[in-house]
Structures are given as structure tokens and as C-alpha cells.
């Protein structure tokens, strides 16, 4: 039957912190947006020279960069790989975004978080100085 109720049990927690200017939600999620594609190898290299690849919860992960956010000026700096520096900013979304998780096993949908801000990098990457 094509019908699925959205589970909103976390809702109270999602709404109570409205007005609090934090990029990361009270539940620990952050939305990072880049104008372009973030490229990295989809399999860990045989010899990982810079120790970028590791395993977390049985899944391959890669350390792709570093992020600094100045909460006063709403400016953000991101270093990607060894060569790129991106300048971005923290913006409030016109409408909040609901983060939905679709559980294929049970056919249920979970509203996991409400995201009100994003860090966006719209400009061409600069070299690291």
C-alpha cells in the first residue's frame, strides 16, 4: 500500500531551540553546501600516504578537509585536500529543511531533524597560502 506515515517523535526537541543561532542543530547535524563537486577516491588507496582514510563503524571514511566557522561574522573557511581554500558564509534558510530518513525494511519515514542554517561555499576555490 503506497502510504507511509512520517514519524515525528523527535519533534519537540527539533522545535524548542528555534531562534538560537547555531549552524549545527541541537541534534548535531550540519548542512554544508559547495557550488561544485567534492571529489575523492571511492576506494581507499593501497598506501595511504597522508593517513586520510580510516574506518568508522565498519565503513570507509575519508578526511577531506578542515573547517573553521566564525560565529560572529558568519564567515567560514574550508580547506579541502592539500591545495584548496574556500571562503564561505553561514546563511539562514528561507524555509527550514526537514531531514527525512526512509527505512526500506519497515517502509516507515522518520523526520530526523529540522535544519535552519547552512554553510555555503559559492566562490571559486583559492590556493592554500
Amino acid at each position: 500500500m503506497p502510504v507511509a506515515e512520517v514519524n515525528v517523535s523527535k519533534l519537540r526537541a527539533l522545535f524548542q531551540n528555534d531562534g538560537n543561532v547555531t549552524v549545527t542543530t541541537p541534534l548535531g547535524n550540519t548542512l554544508l553546501e559547495i557550488q561544485g563537486d567534492l571529489e575523492f577516491p571511492l576506494v581507499p588507496p593501497a598506501n595511504d600516504a597522508d593517513n586520510k582514510f580510516s574506518i568508522y563503524n565498519n565503513e570507509d571514511i575519508v578526511r577531506f578537509g578542515l573547517l573553521q566557522v566564525d560565529s560572529d561574522s558568519k564567515k567560514a573557511t574550508m580547506l579541502v585536500g592539500e591545495k584548496q581554500r574556500l571562503l564561505g558564509s553561514v546563511v539562514k534558510l528561507d524555509s527550514p529543511l526537514g531531514l527525512l530518513k526512509f527505512d526500506h525494511l519497515t517502509g516507515s519515514v522518520d523526520l530526523q531533524d529540522v535544519i535552519r542554517y547552512k554553510i555555503i561555499f559559492k566562490d571559486r576555490p583559492l590556493p592554500i597560502m
Binding site: M1, P2, V3, A4, E5, V6, V8, L11, F15, T24, G28, N29, T30, L31, L32, E33, I34, Q35, G36, D37, L38, F40, P41, L42, D50, N51, S54, I55, Y56, E59, D60, I61, V62, R63, F64, G65, L66, L67, Q68, V69, D70, M78, L79, S95, P96, L97, G98, L99, L100, K101, F102, D103, H104, V109, L111, Q112, V114, I115, K118, I128
Partner: protein, 375 residues
């Protein structure tokens, strides 16, 4: 300035989506409404429903990389080997990008809809109903199943279903025939009056027992089931917060008027005054209601300018030019008010109807009347 380590899964999760929470959706969530995704089938368009509203869901693809990141702590990470650029503080937090989003879901408010085109018709005869079900091999739904596949919120469904004549018979969602609705309505009104029930605040179970008082028990088949009563009373009433039904006398009056048009003005013209008398005579004795002739607009025309004849708008062509031509063939000059029900659905841009008709016809003022004729 604190520094964060940014990690990403090599294989990001694909079970996540982002939904734009516009003001209406936020209000529904804050009002503790349930939210449901619904679709009429695997290939049909998905809607999102709260308790009382329906939104059409649309996907907006974009060209940016949107990563959702989560804070995490791990001892397994070999952080001691990280080489930091000059001037960068030691990272104090780790973020892991776990899903990548190339689109957002948007919800646009729409009107809940029930597709009744596939449902069987019930005319009050169970034997022939069962027989016709056996003979056709169409899909049969229960009312609950139908509600689940209808792009319609719960409350919209509850209001619309009886208005469409929708009913549960033998566990199957079906539509009551016009003739059967007329029959049930007539007996129902008489039974309620006989029991002096208050038309402003009817109780379905009391109406049901009033209606069944004179029916033989168990011997003959009784078509006036509780479901049938609920549908017919629901079609002509508004339900208040206490679950009581307030009869809408105007809706009843209009129904009898359309019946009268079909009965007395289908094959031949009838003068309007004579029609009013016939209309009045159709109601159950002592049933008090006003006859508002304007309520029948959209169901009649005046072939020779004065006397009326029944006409259903189902017969009209869909394209505006064809429809206006057809209407002027029926009747060379129309009172705009009597024409509006036949043309208003063509006015998709929502301009003032006076101006809309100018696109296809000539408009003339005559006293208080606006007359419309072919160009």
C-alpha cells in the same frame, strides 16, 4: 577560532531526503498533525497529507553538493599524524558527511481528491450488486483502502466521500446511484419528521432507527443500512464538532430541484412558474424549505428565451471556443448569471468572469442584467 575535521563516508547513505518545511507544513507539525506520504500507485504522483490538508510533492534538483554532516567521536582515528597548515588550530570536533543531497522536496498546497471513476455503483439492490461484482473483474477496495490510495487528507476525505455518494456496501467502496440517493433522502426526511428529530442536530444512529421503524425485520432485504444512512445524511449535512449532523436545507432543495428538472423538463420545455409548482410538489409533505431558483443554474437553459429545459454540463465540449459555440447554438442570448456555471471552469487564469466572456462572446448591459451573445 575552533577547527573541525571534515570527514565523509566513501559511500554516502541514500535513504535520506530533504523536505522544504514551508509555513503551512511547519504549522501542521507544530499543531501536532500527523504527516503522511500517499500515492495512488507506484507510478502515481506522491502527495503529503496532514490531518486536514493535502500537498502535491515536487522534487527540485540542484547542481550543488549538499552534505549533511554529523558530529562524531572515535578513538580509531589516527589523528596524531594529521599535518596542519600553519596558523590552524588543532581540530576540536569531527564532522562526518553521511549523506549527499542533489535535490529538495517541495510541497505545494492542493485540494484533496478522490478518484471514484473505478468504483462500482450501488442502486439499493444487494443481489444485483453482488452479481455485477462477480461478473466484472475490476479491482475492489474497502473504503479504508480507497482512502489510503486517494491523494486526500483524512478530513477532506471524510467531507468529500459522502458528498460524492461514496458508501460501504458488503465491505466494498462504492457510489450510490442518483436514484437510490433520492429514494433514501425522501424516506429519511419523512422518518425524521415523523420522529420529530431536530434537523439542526441529527444523530446518525437515531436517524437510522427512525428510518428502520417501519421496515420489516429480517424478512425482506433492507437497503437502508447504517452506512447508507450515514452517506446520505453526510451528503446533505455539515458535521459539527460534536459529530452531529446539521441538515443543509439549501442542498436538499437544490437536489429536489435538479430531480424536478430531469423529471419535468428533460424532453420538453416548461414555463418557469409551472416548474416551481412541480418542484414544490416533489418534497415530502410538511417539509419546509425555500425554493431558490438561482440554485439550479448550471442545470437548465432557455431554448426560446423564457421557458426552461434541463441541460447537464457533462455534454459540453472542453475547449472554450467549442463550448461557447455550443452554448449559443442552444440559446442565442444568455443571462450571464445563468451562463457562469457552464463556463467558469474554463476560466483557468482567474480573471473577472465579465472580462473572461469578452474573449469569446459579446456582452451587453440591459438594466441589471448582463446579456451574453455570440460575436
Amino acid at each position: 577560532m575552533p577547527t573541525a575535521n571534515l570527514y565523509s563516508k566513501l559511500q554516502t547513505d541514500e535513504d535520506y531526503k530533504l523536505l522544504v518545511l514551508n509555513g503551512e507544513l511547519l504549522a501542521a507539525l507544530e499543531g501536532n498533525s500527523k504527516l503522511k506520504f500517499k500515492a495512488p500507485g507506484l507510478e502515481g504522483s506522491v502527495v503529503l497529507c496532514s490531518n486536514d490538508k493535502t500537498w502535491l510533492l515536487r522534487q527540485k534538483n540542484h547542481s550543488n553538493t549538499a552534505l549533511i554532516m554529523r558530529e562524531f567521536v572515535s578513538n580509531e582515528l589516527g589523528e596524531e599524524k594529521i599535518k596542519l597548515p600553519a596558523g590552524i588550530e588543532e581540530p576540536s570536533v569531527n564532522h562526518l558527511a553521511y549523506t549527499k543531497q542533489g535535490s529538495e522536496l517541495e510541497a505545494r498546497l492542493t485540494i484533496g481528491d478522490i478518484d471514484i471513476s473505478m468504483l462500482p455503483i450501488y442502486s439499493g439492490d444487494n443481489e444485483s450488486f453482488k452479481k455485477s461484482l462477480q461478473q466484472s473483474n475490476g479491482i475492489r477496495w474497502t473504503v479504508e483502502e480507497l482512502e489510503n490510495i486517494s491523494p486526500c487528507s483524512e478530513q477532506e476525505f471524510a467531507v468529500k466521500w459522502p458528498i460524492l455518494g461514496g458508501c460501504n456496501v458488503e465491505g466494498i467502496a462504492c457510489i450510490l446511484s442518483q436514484e437510490f440517493i433520492s429514494k433514501v433522502l425522501h424516506i429519511l426526511l419523512m422518518s425524521c419528521m415523523a420522529e420529530s428529530l431536530n434537523f439542526e442536530s441529527l444523530d446518525v444512529s437515531k436517524v437510522f432507527s427512525a428510518l428502520n421503524k417501519d421496515m420489516g425485520e429480517g424478512e425482506e432485504f433492507n437497503p437502508f443500512s447504517l452506512d447508507v444512512v450515514r452517506t446520505v445524511i453526510g451528503k446533505f449535512s455539515r458535521v459539527n464538532k460534536q459529530g452531529k449532523y446539521a441538515l443543509q436545507v439549501k442542498a436538499v432543495s437544490q437536489w429536489y430541484g435538479i430531480e424536478a428538472l430531469k423529471k419535468f423538463a428533460s424532453c420538453a420545455l416548461i414555463p418557469q412558474e409551472e416548474f416551481m409548482i412541480k418542484w414544490k410538489a416533489l418534497f415530502p409533505p410538511y417539509f419546509r424549505c425555500d425554493l431558490d431558483f438561482a440554485a439550479l443554474r448550471g442545470y437548465f437553459y432557455r431554448p426560446l428565451g423564457t421557458s426552461i429545459q434541463y441541460f447537464s454540463k457533462d455534454a459540453l465540449p472542453d475547449d472554450p471556443r467549442g463550448r461557447f459555440a455550443y452554448l449559443f447554438k442552444l440559446q442565442s442570448t444568455w443571462d450571464l448569471n445563468e451562463m457562469i456555471p457552464y463556463i467558469e471552469q474554463l476560466n483557468t487564469t482567474g480573471v473577472k468572469i465579465d472580462n473572461f466572456v469578452m474573449k469569446y462572446a459579446r456582452r451587453k448591459k440591459q438594466g441589471k442584467l448582463t446579456l451574453v451573445s455570440a460575436r
